[in-house]
């Protein structure tokens, strides 16, 4: 069965420091992996995806994520955090060989401190 885990409910980081939001997954086939961000009182916004190819994918707002097959991880990273990055981040996985459905993680609240 598909699953995705975000082990941290909240991550605090100082402005200007690098940030990492963790995500691990479990699928039976090839994973399609996604990160979304949700700002207060807003819908989810797509940040980036890994489908195939280069393990390091770059997305919106300076975010990037690294696909690590051996560790079944897809951590979200940014070299220098901004206060405006404070939001709720969701990792999602889709196993295209089985279903069109997404499985979303529980979300990680990122708080960037000025």
């Amino acid at each position: 069965a598909q699953s995705v885990a975000q082990p941290e409910d909240q991550v605090n980081v100082a402005e200007g420091n690098p940030l990492t939001v963790k995500c691990t997954y479990s699928v039976s086939g090839n994973p399609y992996l996604f990160w979304y961000v949700q700002y207060p009182n807003r819908g989810l916004q797509f940040l980036l995806k890994y489908i195939t190819g280069d393990n390091l994918v770059k997305g919106s707002y300076g975010f990037e994520a690294e696909f690590n097959k051996s560790q079944t991880s897809f951590h979200l990273k940014k070299p220098s955090a901004l206060v405006s990055d404070s939001a709720l981040y969701f990792c999602a996985v889709r196993d295209l060989s089985l279903t069109y459905k997404y499985i979303f993680g529980t979300g990680t609240r990122l708080k960037v401190l000025a």
Binding site: G43, L44, K49
Partner: protein, 117 residues
Amino acid sequence: SAVISQKPSRDICQRGTSLTIQCQVDSQVTMMFWYRQQPGQSLTLIATANQGSEATYESGFVIDKFPISRPNLTFSTLTVSNMSPEDSSIYLCSVEGGSGSPHYEQYFGPGTRLTVT
């Protein structure tokens, strides 16, 4: 990408009544999805709506409670019927990618915040 609008953005309803939420997309899409989200929590898929066929409901959700319409490739509605306070939540519609080649990512509407009193 796809641009999605939802109506209403929020509503306060009395228990026992029904509310219909509209979702409009700026391009033709095959699949539309309806999710429920408690504020600050993860998303739960309610159902998948394909144009021209019955919606597919996830475990724990039934058509009598959440009837869905999908009259064309750019529009869908979700009705929350016979509401109770437990239905208070944010309801989100989404679509996969946009027109053209497969994208796989989903794009979400801004959500409808429902409060049932």
